[in-house]
């Protein structure tokens, strides 16, 4: 490649990185935590704090739903509780939109699947920065820029890649060290980043892209073709004859047996979908999670009256369309390989967040004026923004954990406190990074985040000790896991704070990161 072309791609890489880097940092940090979605849910609501309705059976839930909302019988779903301390809830379409309710919420169903769940709030931060509608499109555009940054990043480093790949030049040249770390992480986790750039763009921009492709290139026939390719519920006609329905337990058992016959080793039902419930032709569809397969979410559709299997989309029975569609979710969420893959995704997610952080630092470092005390204005602004947004995000998410913890123990809804703490701390951190000298703000924000994260985990462990001892449940491991991970993350923040303090004290005085009295420049 010509030198001029490489310089062009260098510019593309810098600009896409600048435009998308901040949002990607949030997406990757929150995304790494989202890998442990169910563990965070157990942390918020541990097995010894039983939620309302967690004892209600699914059959009782359906009975209650149909008694109060008979119109839902044509099409409704039931989301199974993720563990024994959560409640199952029903999902259906009202004339005003989607409705969700556990057994005792039937009189006043929710319009939001789980507004008080910390795990779901962190997921919302991950996929849309927690902003309604616009956030999802914004993150879709960010995903496209991210794809372009990946391609251009690889192209510019391709010439020296083979030579420098294993080089880690630790020494006085800090720019080179950051460059080596940035490149090594970028290249090692490249397949993982390709997955996210592609699936992220698809998930966020799916509906508008489908609509655009439909008009531009598919002659208006794409929606129909897409529905055909991803459909799992067999089309049926209402018979009009009422019939008895099998119990949910019986249906799940039949679905599991059918799934295991088709080449998967596990099938954990997590969602059921019913069409024309109570009719002789009613269909029950069971969705389940299988491990060690890319089609991690499979479905079995049966007659809800007699259990005859009508359609199977599991393991060997997937079509090419079905397995491609299912694998998008498995690959994005890392749900296909048990705990090992979850930890891998968690580590790679944090490494990804570090990639965007180090990219910004690199940008600042390569514009540093080595012989001048006064650094360029744009690098000072960039340093403040990087500190405010990146460390602010970590602090804000820890704040959401703290707010949730307090709200749950005061028996108030956690949804609002979570959001206030999270956005409040984020804006606070950004303002702090703008006003305080950069070097001090970095050390202090990292320090606060470290202390808050470790303190939250230790307090949670200490207060749960008694309950764990008296009523042990295997679910307690999840709570302990979240707390230990919190302590580990806190230690990492503390190490970063120490490194920042060292650089402020002993590093080159001609730098935005220094708090030393500047040395007079050479004449």
């Amino acid at each position: 490649m010509k030198a001029a072309t490489i310089r062009t791609f260098q510019t593309v890489h810098t600009w896409t990185g600048l435009l998308a880097g901040f949002a990607l940092f949030v997406a990757f940090y929150a995304g790494a935590l989202t890998v442990f979605h169910d563990d965070i849910a157990a942390w918020q609501n541990p097995p010894w704090r039983v939620a309302t309705d967690s004892g209600v059976s699914m059959d009782a839930l359906i009975e209650r739903l149909l008694a109060r909302h008979p119109g839902a019988r044509d099409d409704f779903g039931v989301v199974l509780p993720r563990d024994s301390s959560h409640a199952a809830y029903a999902y259906w379409q009202d004339k005003d939109g989607a409705r969700f309710a556990t057994a005792s919420q039937m009189e006043a169903p929710r319009t939001d699947a789980s507004e008080n769940e910390l795990a779901d709030f962190i997921y919302a931060l991950h996929d849309s920065l927690g902003l309604p509608v616009i956030g999802l499109y914004l993150m879709g555009i960010v995903s496209v820029l991210y794809g372009l940054a990946l391609v251009s990043g690889i192209l510019i480093h391709l010439p020296q890649l083979a030579k420098d790949f294993f080089a880690m030049r630790v020494g006085r040249n800090l720019k080179r060290l950051w460059q080596d770390a940035h490149n090594a992480i970028g290249v090692i986790s490249l397949p993982f980043h390709v997955i996210f750039a592609v699936t992220g763009a698809l998930f966020c921009l799916f509906t508008i892209t489908l609509a655009a492709l439909n008009t531009v290139a598919f002659d208006g026939k794409l929606f129909e073709a897409f529905a055909r390719a991803t459909e799992t519920t067999p089309a049926i006609t209402l018979s009009g004859t009422p019939a008895t329905m099998l119990t949910t337990d019986a249906l799940m058992e039949l679905a599991r047996a059918e799934a295991l016959k088709n080449g998967v080793r596990t099938f954990e039902p997590d969602y059921m979908h019913f069409v024309h419930y109570g009719d002789r032709n009613a269909v029950a569809e069971v969705r389940g999670l299988s491990q060690h397969t890319l089609g991690s979410y499979g479905t079995v559709a049966m007659s809800a009256h007699d259990g005859t299997v009508l359609a199977t989309y599991v393991g060997d029975r997937y079509s090419l369309n079905g397995i491609s569609y299912a694998s998008l979710f498995g690959l994005h969420f890392g749900s296909f390989g048990g705990r090992t893959v979850q930890w891998l995704y968690f580590m790679l997610g944090l490494a990804g967040a570090f990639l965007f952080y180090s990219g910004n630092l690199l940008w600042i470092e390569s514009r540093r004026k080595r012989r001048h005390v006064d650094q360029p204005r744009k690098t000072r602004i960039m340093a403040r923004a990087t500190i405010g947004v990146c460390i602010g995000t970590c602090l804000a998410i820890t704040g959401a954990f703290v707010a949730t913890w307090i709200a749950v123990r005061m028996d108030v809804d956690a949804g609002l406190p979570q959001r206030v703490a999270c956005y409040g701390l984020f804006l606070g951190a950004c303002a702090y990074a703008c006003l305080r000298p950069v070097a001090k703000a970095t050390i202090e924000l990292l320090g606060i985040t470290a202390v808050a994260t470790v303190a939250m985990a230790l307090i949670d462990l200490a207060t749960n000790m008694g309950a764990m001892a008296s009523s042990w449940s295997p679910l307690a491991w999840r709570v302990i896991g979240v707390d230990l991970t919190g302590i580990a993350l806190g230690i990492v923040f503390a190490l970063f704070a120490r490194a920042a303090a060292r650089r402020a004290r002993d590093g080159d005085a001609n730098s935005v990161w220094s708090s030393r009295a500047p040395t007079p420049s050479a004449p």
Binding site: V12, L148, V198, A201, A225, L320, S324
Partner: protein, 84 residues
């Protein structure tokens, strides 16, 4: 730089879409069995065009070639769709 960036973004989008539609159209049963893998390819393809547009010597050339490619693929698709 900006002209090539816009060429890749604005013209790369329909070009990627039309190429996929063309590919699916010539497959048996109009590619029904390959629809999802085809759609997954859309974003990588668009990104490739966005990155590829910088290889053109000038912005005008990028618009000319990519615009021409759009017209060619669109016409081919249109001709193939005509009832025989």
């Amino acid at each position: 730089m900006i002209a090539r960036c816009l060429a890749g973004t604005v013209l790369g989008f329909p070009l990627a879409a039309l190429l996929l539609a063309l590919l699916l159209h010539v497959l048996p049963r109009h590619g029904d069995a390959f629809l999802i893998p085809g759609l997954i390819l859309f974003f990588p393809l668009w990104t490739a065009f966005m990155a590829g547009a910088y290889l053109f010597r000038s912005g005008a050339r990028a618009w000319l070639v990519m615009g021409g490619a759009n017209i060619v693929v669109f016409s081919t698709l249109w001709l193939l769709r005509l009832p025989a």
